[in-house]
Assembly symmetry: C2
Homo-oligomer: 230 residues x 2
Amino acid sequence: MSHTFYDGQEKLFVATDCIIFGFDDNTIKLLLFERKVDPLAGRWSLIGSFVQENEGTKHAAARVLEEYTGLENVYMEELGCFGEVDRDPGARVLSIAYSALIRIGEYDVDLVERHGAKWFDYDQIPALVLDHNDMVDLAIQKLRRKAKYQPLGFELLPEKFTIPQLQILYECIYQRPLDKRNFRRKILSMNILEKLDEKDKLGSKKGAFLYKFDRDKYHSLAQKGILFEI
Amino acid sequence: MSHTFYDGQEKLFVATDCIIFGFDDNTIKLLLFERKVDPLAGRWSLIGSFVQENEGTKHAAARVLEEYTGLENVYMEELGCFGEVDRDPGARVLSIAYSALIRIGEYDVDLVERHGAKWFDYDQIPALVLDHNDMVDLAIQKLRRKAKYQPLGFELLPEKFTIPQLQILYECIYQRPLDKRNFRRKILSMNILEKLDEKDKLGSKKGAFLYKFDRDKYHSLAQKGILFEI
DNA sequence: TTTATAAGTGTAAAAAAAACACTTATTTTG
DNA sequence: CAAAATAAGTGTTTTTTTTACACTTATAAA
């Protein structure tokens, strides 16, 4: 294939950026980094990386996520392509943005600190470089929309969690209070939680039972067309 | 800015592909083209184009759509980035796929024919080049999912349509029959349709009243948080 | 042992969705 | 020109889902 129609076509810089969500202190948070390279060095930014010739775009995003947090096998979802011509003043760079949901207790604290990162409440995001604020806004909107019909919440909680913790998470995402009796009934009626014999005694004197999300059960129900909804 | 961190980074080919939906003969259809360039010339394919240095990705998709159908201002939505390393045997090409919803009565029939295009029922898509079948499958899934909560249907119907036509469209999308009394009540209760004095007499002897989708009303209701659902 | 705290529980009312069958307007046909 | 055929159009009842709401319980701290 010496002469193909690829010859003479233009190539573009392709990057990925990663919107990292966490949940702690009863708040949804985003992990942001101080940009180290010019242009715009020193300003707050999402983490990102150029896509290499020999890797997929999601791989690039996961690679940089691991490099900055130490986390592997993180839940990541494509947010979209940000491809406006003038979005980056330094060059024509197209970025594929990914949302990542991480368990805030599991990342490598030292590593993150060394990279100049800081957690921000998701309603107090500072001005970011380039179009990163657009990415964040879109990611938050999408998280709100999707959380209702997909079991995303469990990606943000520790493996063992209590029903009240789960409820607070959804109250944060939806930004409105939920009735605890209705919430408990609804989530338990789906039969996707496994109740453990342990209790979490940190949140209250009485203690609340711990549960685990049963991914297998969820998938077999989803296959049958029985939908998650909360 | 003589030396920036862009220097030495790799660039990639970036293309767009376009999944073109239409509705006719009470069926959802997709417009496919015979690929003219090697590799894989002569095989069925989505239409696509490389993204130029001086245009956004959506612009590239809209440009190629107009070139092949004559249509401008078409409803288009990003489906996602297809970026696996080996998805194109000719070169490393990353593709941003877009779904387009067109009114099947409005495209330039000659132009489309000259480009070797053909409409296929959406459940009878032939083998396509590269990962285009994946794109189509994903686009159909997404259309099904989104149609319920966003007024996409009106992008596939002529400007004036009858309630039974609209119902048949949704029956196609959801692949299940709907009750006509419940359907009519639900869609009319949203107050987003304008009833015209005209009747369509082609579909029946009695004739059915024509309606128009009122975009302004829809948007002002959406702003107030009143959601479309069908 | 009293107090404070959050966990855990059931029922009734309201709203939304689903099920269901006949009448009407008009063209075609005999 | 009367009868038949066709798809449009219309309300009500039943079922399901969602919402609203208040007290008891287990335990640690005072």
